[in-house]
């Protein structure tokens, strides 16, 4: 067990290395660390569940997972979103296995107990005859997810009733969500079910790859340079700002060499620009008018990208959210959502969707190459040299880019700590710090008491 073998020394060494911009490699796929992560990170932080447009009408439901906890998310008659553990209170059977649908009651296939949209137990087969009057049905309703809240249509859940409220957790990321999700009248809408697939990867690596690593773009996605779609300049994804916000969240605001995008407002129809201006502050509008790609993440396992892309010569913008559901130290189930402005013209939405399929998701040509590097990281992670906790083999990953070298840009108009390049490991280091803070909570305390 970790508490016995993960001696304080290994933890101290870990912290020491992290303070030098290094991250010990044994940590990435260590099975004990993984167990700790599930309890201490995923059991305590806010995780993304769904977007409001996935639950349009009363009775609409979707089933989701918070790592291993099955979640049933429903809209009740009052229009409120409720999150339940998707498990019958009688003997624990998974209550609903459909991905989505619309219902008034959920009936368990095992003994037939049934629940309404408010999670109340409303039916017990032969109830009075077998349980008598003493059975109080109100004690046997579906168990609610301790906290469910939403911001800009993004619904999150948290298993820790004592965790800080969602808005406080998101912190300055809210300001960026206001741009990404709030720029249009009516907000954004999700198209269909999320694509899901299983990748060979550790969740930390995928989250970092998206939220914190524009540096990989020039090599991993070099095929787009070969095809003449991306510029030759190896710095091309580095122009702009990397912004570190609280709690391990962060966003890269990638512009271009000139400080502006090739096309204003990410290639959205010009007719939408006045609407963006109206819904945004002047600072937000300034950023949106110049950005090429927004890419970032909400800790621990939600990432997003809002790029400019096109399959047939026309440029389109869309918003992609993805959730990295850990399945084990070396596996993630990726959930990928496509979002587009409700107010966008229908042809634009369709073209943007095709642009999305061509670039991200399992069939996206950019993402395909990402999956290869994620797999290569875990495929070498079992070696003794890699796993050595005393770090005798210099088995530490390098997060030195911009470390103690690049100062924040005080003139940047948005919130957060903004560095004047995205080729910097500032978000990664902040994710690691946050990881360490969460994972060592109570653990070190206990050690100290002993």
């Amino acid at each position: 067990m970790i508490k016995k073998t993960l001696d304080e020394k290994a933890f101290q060494l870990l912290k020491e290395k992290m303070d030098q911009g290094l991250f010990p490699q044994w940590v990435l796929t260590d099975p004990d660390i993984y167990e700790l992560e599930i309890d201490k990170i995923f059991g305590r932080t806010w995780q993304f569940l769904a977007h409001e447009t996935e639950l349009e009408d009363p009775g609409s439901y979707v089933t989701r997972w918070m790592v291993n906890d099955p979640i049933l998310l429903v809209k009740n008659r009052q229009g409120e979103i409720k999150g339940y553990l998707n498990s019958c209170t009688h003997r624990g059977t998974q209550l609903c296995t459909a991905d989505h649908g619309n219902k008034k009651t959920f009936t368990c296939p095992y003994h037939g107990w049934s629940y309404n949209l408010d999670g109340e137990l409303i039916g017990i087969v032969a109830g009075n005859k077998v349980y008598g009057e003493e059975m109080d049905k109100s004690e046997w309703g579906l168990r609610e997810i301790p906290q469910v809240a939403s911001y800009q249509g993004m619904i999150f859940g948290c298993l820790d009733p004592a965790a800080m409220p969602l808005e406080e957790y998101l912190g300055d990321m809210k300001w960026y969500f206001d741009i990404l999700l709030g720029r249009s009248d009516g907000g954004m809408e999700v198209r269909g079910l999320p694509q899901r697939w299983v990748a060979k990867a550790n969740w930390k690596a995928t989250a970092e790859n998206f939220a914190a690593d524009p540096y990989h773009v020039q090599t991993t996605h070099r095929s787009t340079v070969e095809l003449g779609i991306s510029p030759e300049d190896p710095l091309y994804a580095g122009y702009g700002h990397q912004v570190v916000t609280e709690n391990g969240h962060g966003i890269n605001v990638i512009t271009s060499k000139t400080g502006k995008a090739r096309v204003p407002y990410q290639g959205t129809p010009e007719s939408m620009w006045p609407m963006f201006k109206k819904n945004l502050t002047p600072e937000q509008d300034d950023i949106l008018s110049k950005v090429t790609v927004f890419v970032g993440g909400v800790y621990p396992n939600l990432s997003f990208v809002s790029p400019i892309h096109g399959t047939e010569g026309h440029l389109h913008n869309y918003l992609n959210f993805r959730m990295w559901r850990p399945i084990g130290p070396e596996k993630v189930e990726v959930w990928c959502w496509f979002l587009i402005d409700k107010a966008a013209p229908e042809e634009y939405k369709e073209a943007a969707y095709r642009g999305y399929l061509g670039s991200f998701g399992p069939t996206g040509t950019l993402e395909q190459d990402d999956t290869e590097t994620w797999a290569r990281i875990v495929e070498v992670s079992k070696g003794l040299m890699m796993r050595d906790k005393q770090l005798n083999y210099n088995n530490v990953s390098n997060y030195l880019m911009g470390f103690d070298r690049v100062e924040p840009d005080e003139t940047y108009p948005g919130p957060g700590i903004a560095y004047p390049t995205t080729y910097i490991d500032a978000i990664s280091r902040s994710m690691h710090e946050n990881w360490f803070k969460l994972i060592s909570k109570d653990l070190l305390l206990k050690e100290a008491v002993k």
Binding site: G192, L193, W197, L357, T363, T365, D369
Partner: protein, 174 residues
């Protein structure tokens, strides 16, 4: 259009269409993507909707709004061109793959120059020296047409049987 008219499906016709699908699989499994493109008509519609898990015995569980592919010949050409670059890492080193195509059924259509072809696919892939064997399976609904003396695929809808894909990416064509 005379809806009463239907072309008899002769053994000869069936053989020609089966050969088309076999040739296609051969091209895909041997990295001959440009040759593969030549088997596709210029007005091609190439789709792969998601499969959903829905309640109900007869529920149509092919997604109406979410897909893995929504392609034209042009967008497939872009995807193919990428596979001829040096840095499409997902296929460099190349994966080894097989398309097993079976249960082929040919049906005539109202438009007498086109035929409906239904087939099953089993796709297997090996990558690097890893021991995992990736696979995917499902059904394909095609429309084919003879242009000159060359059969072409005019439309394809790929229906996977998994709602959660277990290949680590979908760099393959199906």
């Amino acid at each position: 259009m005379n809806s009463g008219l239907s072309i008899p499906i002769t053994a000869q016709l069936q053989m020609e269409i089966i050969s088309l699908l076999n040739m296609e699989a051969y091209y895909l499994d041997n990295g001959k993507y440009k040759e593969w493109l030549d088997l596709l008509s210029d007005d091609l519609i190439y789709r792969m909707p998601l499969r959903e898990t829905l309640e109900g015995v007869r529920a149509d569980n092919v997604s109406k709004d979410a897909s893995f592919f929504e392609e034209t010949k042009k967008s497939l050409t872009t995807r193919v061109n990428r596979l001829y670059t040096k840095s499409a890492w997902v296929e460099n080193p190349a994966t080894r793959q097989r398309h097993f195509i079976s249960n082929i059924m040919v049906e005539s259509m109202e438009n007498t120059s086109e035929f409906k072809v239904r087939s099953y696919f089993l796709f297997k892939r090996s990558r690097g020296s890893t021991h995992d064997i990736e696979q995917m399976f499902g059904e394909r609904n095609d429309i084919v047409r003879k242009e000159g003396d060359q059969w072409k695929i005019v439309s394809r809808t790929i229906i996977p049987d998994q709602s959660v894909i277990t290949t680590m990416n979908m760099s393959m064509f199906l």
